[in-house]
């Protein structure tokens, strides 16, 4: 397969949301044909420029996906499927990108706070941000405040996302921010919060940097913070 054809196929499969060969996609007859995982591996084997793979194969395809979502041709599951393809491709490419001197958009630590086991929203944000080019470190659910702060310190992460679904656990987000302040690293990390019971008002109250009502807003917020 030629290099251009390979890039086109990667982009096509990102738009189709086909992660692996066994995935169906939208069009008939795709099942069993190489998808993003197989195609990116082949691209690496053929020594395609990883920057070109990211730009032509992934980024441009995600722009198409974004437009389809705005046009309501795609819904959340479609966006997630495509984002997951990009995230996986980025994992496969990460060493090669570093070797090529390309930096990611930064580390994003994400966690559901202590006392809360809910993670649907958190997982969606994680997939979307990974698909958007961030290095996502997902700490999981019911994560103690101390551990969250330790991970921020350890990874020197510029971004922290906190999630809670329960009205009883949302206050823990404030405790995390207090702990970051106590440890003297509050100014080094931007804290984004989200989850059903949270709001802009609550975000202001606990001193977070941003409230995100959904995954899309988290991407917008991060773009704004980076500029």
């Amino acid at each position: 397969m030629g290099k251009n054809e390979l890039l086109e196929k990667i982009a096509f499969n990102v738009i189709q949301g086909r992660l692996e060969a066994e995935d169906e996609g939208f069009d008939e007859g795709l099942e069993g044909k190489p998808a993003v995982t197989e195609l990116v591996k082949e691209a690496i084997e053929q020594e395609l420029d990883p920057k070109i793979i990211v730009l032509k194969g992934l980024t441009e395809a995600m722009e198409v996906v974004g437009k389809k979502f705005e046009g309501e041709d795609y819904l959340i599951p479609d966006m997630l499927a495509s984002a997951e393809c990009v995230g996986t491709a980025m994992d496969l490419l990460s060493d090669h990108l570093a070797g090529a001197g390309v930096e990611g958009k930064g580390k994003f630590i994400i966690a559901t706070v202590a006392g809360d086991l809910h993670d649907i929203g958190k997982n969606i944000v994680a997939i979307m941000l990974k698909g958007a080019g961030y290095e996502v470190i997902d700490l999981g659910t019911n994560v103690p405040t101390e551990q969250i702060v330790e991970e921020v310190k350890k990874h020197q992460a510029p971004y922290l996302g906190l999630s809670a679904l329960l009205t009883t656990t949302m206050r823990v987000m404030g405790e995390v921010i207090e702990k970051l302040t106590e440890e003297g690293i509050r100014s080094k990390v931007k804290v984004l919060i989200g989850g059903a019971p949270t709001s802009q008002e609550f975000s202001d109250q606990i001193g977070a940097d941003a409230y995100c009502k959904d995954a899309f807003q988290s991407i917008d917020v991060l773009k704004a913070l980076a500029s």
Binding site: G17, P77, L80, A81, I120, I127
Partner: protein
């Protein structure tokens, strides 16, 4: 085998009555038909009943002659058994045909009644007295007298409502040029020129039948084509409850049955005035009336396609008006669906009428109450389901749009469960795959079902903001639907109809350019 027809929704029927109770009601109906029997005001029917062994006695009642007819259960059952349990209601577009099968609970929803009033809804802004910055839009309702142009508009709108399976004229045409002589041809032409779905109506004059059938033959492509694809059918309210066979409607039954086109034998007694208010009495009586009507159709022409038309209503006990939005209405109607199934005759049933005069919470509640119950009952053909308000006195187009959304949800809700080995295997595979992923999310695995339309969508008229904009959103959606090109008949067909059929209003003559 019919290759194209509207899917409707196949349901697993909800039944109120046990088989034993159905048999008790059947026996009660047979007893009613034997004694007191029926009061027949049509001589042809009386003679026909007598010829087939009924006990018929002539009586004088005031200025008119009446024949008291007592039936044996054998006569009734033999005749009803001749009625076909399966037939097709045709349509201009093959994919809009309906497959009626008494033994298959495939549910179709359509419009109905012949309301005199059309209700327009406008949203008018109002500002708070305390704070003029706070504004809300409030619906203002305008009544209009029904006419042929509004009937055309109703048919065009109903063409666009995806969950409306058949069209019964929802509006009476009261143009100054419309008389009883040309009422039927204009009513049918306005409907047939503006929808490709099955068209059904009653007849104002028996004499119009010939012209209406000829019009349908021209559209269908000739007499044989109309037989194979009956794009029209007729409703006859043959009984005046209790138990009185009306003279002129009975003549219409003779006329329609002789054409071979499908007919509804409909009865609409009111529990508490023209029928017992108690469930058992109401259902025994309406069932007796409908069976006598079906018997008549089969004695006129064996095997003629007929629908068991049950429209039992309840009286309000404060003013004796019809009452549709009450539990008894559902009970009577579900029982009737079961009776029709027992006799293996497709059922024309009733849902979606309410007592509310305008769109709003009462209308939604009352309509959902019957839309859902009657769909659950497995009635094959549910009329009155779109746009009717104020009992059956008004048709409101935006209400039809709201009903369409509600019925769509109900159709979705009642679809058969897809649980079978291959599906379960696929699900197990998906569960294992998701549990092996870091995020344990099923979202990406929802895509196939989502894009195949297997998954329902959010309520079409919901508002994201903290307010209820349903009516406003529905009006906006209605405007979009009304921009769609009308499905007019081609010019040659219209020319032929106008040349052959007298009495058509020139204003109805739109054609495809």
């Amino acid at each position: 085998m019919l290759d194209k027809f509207r899917e409707g929704v196949l349901v697993k029927p909800y039944e109120r009555l046990s088989l034993e109770q159905v048999k008790w009601l059947d026996e009660a109906s047979m007893q009613i038909l034997a004694d007191p029997g029926i009061w027949c005001y049509n001589e042809r029917a009386a003679k026909l009943f007598k010829k087939h062994g009924a006990d018929v006695r002539e009586e004088r009642e005031g200025y008119s002659t009446c024949w008291r007819v007592s039936f044996s259960s054998g006569l009734i059952k033999e005749a009803v058994a001749q009625a076909p349990s399966r037939f097709v209601l045709g349509a201009r577009k093959p994919e809009n045909r309906l497959l009626l099968d008494a033994l298959v609970p495939r549910v179709y929803f359509g419009s109905g009644s012949e309301a005199n009033v059309w209700i327009d809804v406008e949203m008018e802004p109002f500002a708070s007295i305390n704070n003029p910055d706070i504004q809300v839009k409030v619906p203002i309702f305008h009544k209009r007298r029904g006419d042929s142009s509004l009937l055309c508009r109703a048919a065009r709108l109903c063409e666009q409502l995806e969950h409306l399976d058949f069209f019964i004229r929802p509006l009476n045409i009261q143009d100054p040029e419309v008389t009883s002589k040309n009422h039927d041809v204009n009513k049918f032409f306005a409907s047939l020129n503006n929808t490709t779905k099955h068209v059904q109506a009653g007849l104002t004059e028996t004499e119009s039948l010939k012209d209406v059938v000829r019009m349908a033959e021209i559209i269908a492509g000739g007499p044989q084509a109309l037989k194979e694809n009956p794009i029209i059918s007729f409703i006859t309210c043959v009984f005046k409850s209790p138990l009185q066979l009306v003279d002129d409607t009975t003549e219409k039954v003779f006329g329609v049955v002789e054409t071979g086109l499908p007919i509804v034998i409909s009865s609409s007694p009111q529990g508490g005035s023209s029928a017992p208010i108690q469930e058992a009495g109401m259902v025994a009586q309406i069932n007796a009336e409908i069976l006598a009507g079906i018997t008549l159709t089969q004695l006129i022409r064996e095997g003629s396609p007929v629908l068991y038309g049950s429209v039992p209503v309840r009286a309000r006990l404060d003013d004796l008006h019809d009452m549709y939005g009450c539990p008894e209405f559902n009970q009577y109607n579900i029982d009737c669906v079961q009776m029709a199934r027992f006799y293996e005759v497709p059922c024309y049933s009733t849902a979606g009428v309410g007592d509310a005069k305008v769109p709003g919470m009462q209308a939604t509640f009352e309509k959902l109450f019957t839309h859902l119950h009657m769909a659950m009952s497995g009635a094959q053909y549910i009329h009155y389901a779109f746009g009717l308000l104020d009992r059956t006195n008004s048709f409101c187009p935006v209400q039809a749009v709201l009903d369409n959304e509600q019925i769509g949800k109900i159709k979705h809700c009642l679809r058969a469960a897809r649980v079978e080995p291959s599906v379960v295997d696929d699900m197990l595979k998906t569960i294992r795959k998701v549990m092996g992923s870091p995020h344990r999310l099923y979202a990406r695995h929802s895509r196939k079902a989502m894009h195949a339309g297997e998954v329902s969508s959010p309520y079409r008229f919901e508002t994201k903001e903290w307010k209820d904009n349903v009516l406003e959103n529905a009006l906006e959606y209605m405007k979009q639907l009304e921009k769609e090109a009308p499905p007019y008949l081609d010019q040659t067909t219209v020319e032929q109809i106008f040349n052959e059929i007298p009495g058509l209003l020139p204003g109805l003559r739109q054609t495809v350019s």
